[in-house]
Structure formats: structure tokens, C-alpha cells
């Protein structure tokens, strides 16, 4: 079994990371560089590891093969830029999407609550009545405090009254519509129904009247037509 030196492995890992930091920042790697020392102190590795990864000879302790690989990848792994046509096409697409996102905000931003004045409990001489919206409007801006009591209750009561009135009016309208269908077709149907009963009765009731004394029991019973009986 090969013993695994965890601290040594962590030191190598941290050393590679510090080397990469320096190389990618475009400065030569030196273990005693203040930036390197600061960065290694911030590391989550055990305390002994940053010490092993820093110092004047830290650069020599880095594996030469890894150093060569880093230099090679730094040169060969380049950033690729998309075509100009794609860039502009996507920019246009994003602008369209941004415009679509912007519209609801603009519509919402136009709205503003317009206060209206009304008689309040305080002005009516009954200050003992607390304001039921105190808790709701506790975080309102200071500037609104003067008008808050004037506004809050009438708004609520007015809203409730309006809602109730609308409900009652709606119910009345529905009831009226059910009793008096207003469309021309419904009126025509009602007329036909009324006049049709008078016309149809002699044709459909050919035998003696139902319930009359002279009814022939062998006579077939005519079908019952709803609305004509």
C-alpha cells in the first residue's frame, strides 16, 4: 500500500493554483510575492499547506511538466469570438425581447392612486374610534401622514359600498332578463308559443274532450303535448 501524503498533495494543488493566478494575471510567479502570500492565507487548506506552497523557492517546487502544460494551454486555449452577423442578429432579438418585457412595466407605471377627501372619525368628533387601517398603512411615507386618516376609511367603505351596489344591480338585471327575454328571437318564440296553442288545439284534439261524460273508452288517448294541456 502506498502511503498518501495529503498535505503534500494539497500543497501541490495550492501551488498550481497560485502559479495559475500569477500567470493568468500576467506577472511572474514568486512564492514570496505579497499577493501570493495573501491569497494562500485565504485558502481553506490546512495551515501547513500554504507555508509549503509559498516562499522564495516555491516556483522551483512546482512540477516542470505542469508548468510546461500551463504555458502550452495558455497559448493554445484561445477565446473564440462569434461572427459579427450572429452578434448583431442576437442583439436585435434581445432588443425585441427587452421591448416586450418593458411594456407591462410602462403600463403599470402610469397608474397612480388619486386621493379623495371625506369626513373622518376624528373630524366627526369621535377620536376614540381607532383607525382600522393603522396596521396596514404603518409603513406609509411620512409625507402622507397628514392625509392618511382622511383617505383610508372612506376608501375602504366606499369600495365596499360600491361592490355591494354592483352586486345588487347585477342580481336585479339577471332577474329582469330572465322574466323578459329581450332579444327579437325570444319575443318571436313567445308569440308563436302563445298563438300556436290556439291554432293547434282543434287539430290535435279530435275526439271528445277529455273528462267529458260521452267519452268513448276505445278511442286512443292522444299524446300529451307539454304546454297545450
Amino acid at each position: 500500500m502506498i502511503p498518501f501524503d495529503r498535505d503534500a498533495s494539497s500543497a501541490d494543488t495550492l501551488l498550481t493554483d497560485l502559479y495559475l493566478d500569477a500567470i493568468l494575471a500576467g506577472r511572474p510567479f514568486r512564492g514570496d510575492d505579497p499577493a501570493v502570500a495573501k491569497r494562500s492565507r485565504r485558502s481553506s487548506a490546512p495551515a501547513s499547506v500554504p507555508e509549503a506552497a509559498t516562499g522564495p523557492d516555491a516556483a522551483e517546487r512546482l512540477d516542470p511538466a505542469i508548468r510546461a502544460a500551463v504555458d502550452r494551454l495558455r497559448h493554445d486555449l484561445v477565446r473564440v469570438h462569434p461572427s459579427f452577423r450572429f452578434e448583431e442578429r442576437l442583439a436585435t432579438r434581445l432588443a425585441e425581447a427587452a421591448t416586450a418585457l418593458r411594456v407591462p412595466t410602462a403600463v403599470g407605471a402610469e397608474g397612480r392612486v388619486v386621493p379623495f377627501r371625506a369626513r373622518t372619525a376624528t373630524s366627526a368628533g369621535d377620536p376614540s374610534l381607532g383607525d382600522p387601517v393603522d396596521g396596514l398603512l404603518g409603513d406609509a411615507p411620512e409625507a402622507l401622514d397628514g392625509d392618511r386618516r382622511d383617505l383610508a376609511r372612506p376608501l375602504l367603505i366606499g369600495g365596499a359600498l360600491t361592490s355591494a351596489a354592483l352586486s345588487l344591480a347585477g342580481a336585479a338585471l339577471v332577474a329582469w332578463r330572465r322574466n323578459r327575454p329581450g332579444s327579437p328571437m325570444a319575443r318571436a318564440a313567445r308569440v308563436v308559443r302563445t298563438s300556436g296553442a290556439a291554432i293547434a288545439r282543434p287539430r290535435t284534439l279530435r275526439g271528445p274532450r277529455r273528462g267529458s261524460a260521452g267519452r268513448d273508452p276505445s278511442w286512443p288517448r292522444e299524446p300529451s303535448v307539454r304546454g297545450f294541456d
Binding site: S44, A65, L73, H81, F86, L94
Partner: protein
Amino acid sequence: MVRPVFGRVSDATRAGSAHADGAARVAHLDRDRALVEAAQLDPLRFDALYRRYLAQVYSYAYYELGDHHEAEDATERTFLAALTNLSRFEERARPADGEGASTFRVWLFQIARNTIANQRRGRRRHPQAPLDAAALVADPLDLEGGAASRDEATAAWTAVGRLPSDRRRALVLRFVEEMSTAEIAGVLGRSEGAVRVLIHRALRTVARDLGDRAGHRGTDARGSREPRR
């Protein structure tokens, strides 16, 4: 175990109270903060962020997918998703993330990573080493030198392409996007220590691969010279 890289902004921190624990304190370090705030207020201002990060996102997608068209698709989806969800973005940087840390960039690359994963899953396509990109590095006027550097770049690309996906991803983010360990940890959802180990192992593998290749080439060259002797 995956350690959260970015701590949440607590209410106490928002209120401005001092924390005894420095690690838990959240500082505003996002260099893109001004641009992000402007874009959150007006989505049309997202264009500045788009221009800044287009090449980076595209490069990342290209290295992951190995195809220009697929990289364009992934880039487009990434930026559209970022624009749509920008209102939900919250800056969460720590002092440990470094002075140049951009949490917006980490957030954007998290979106890119998910987008690329979905795209790859949907198309059942496995990435190959994007060898044709090596042609971008070569100088077209220097034919001999261009061929040599293209050959070297191809070797490096192949070595990186052979890596397991998590190591390759970490390496690309480190070298191509020049991200810090903390930023890569944020993108990949791993701890900084885990990212350091990933990169160190990836470099060792690439170094061994490139060394083997150089050894083979040296043997081939000696073998081809022997008959001349």
C-alpha cells in the same frame, strides 16, 4: 460535500449591522453592478452586458459543444434566459471571491452551463475536441510556422478534449475565461478546494498526454532519420 460558495444576504446585513464573523459578511464586489441595475430598471440597457459577455459565453459553449452552430444556439438561449430572469438576479459576492469578482458573470455562466447540458441531453450528442478552432491560432502568412503551431494546438486541443467533462470544464473556465477558483466554484456548484483539485489533476493529465505525444514524435523522428544514416 458541496459547500455553498455564495452566502445569502441576510436581513441584518441589509440593515447594515456589523457581523463579528468576517466570512459571513456579504460585500458588494460585483463589477457589473451598475450595468445590472440599469438593465433591471430598463431591459433595453441589457445590451451592454450582452456585448461584454458575448464572446465569453460563446467560447464556453463552443469548447463544450465543439460546433459553431450549436454554440450559437446555446449562446442565444443563454442570453434570452438571462434577460428574462434578470429581475430575479441577486448580487451575492463575498470578499473571498476577489476584488474583480463578478457574480453576474457567475450567474450567467450557470445559465450557460444548464443550457448547454439541456442542449446536449436533447440532441444526444457528445462533445468532441473542436480541432478546427486550432486554425484560428495559426498565422496565415507563416505557412511553415503556422503548420507547426497548428499541429501543437491540435495536440493541446486533443489532450483537453480527452479529459473527463468536469475537469475539461474547469480547465476551460480557468484558461479561456480566466475565471478565479471562486468563480469557477460558483459556476460548477463545487467548493474551491474541489475546483483546485480538478484543475491540478486535469493539468497533470494534459502534461502526461502532451509528454507522451512528444515522446512518440521524437521516436518517430528518430525512426525516420535512421535509414538516412
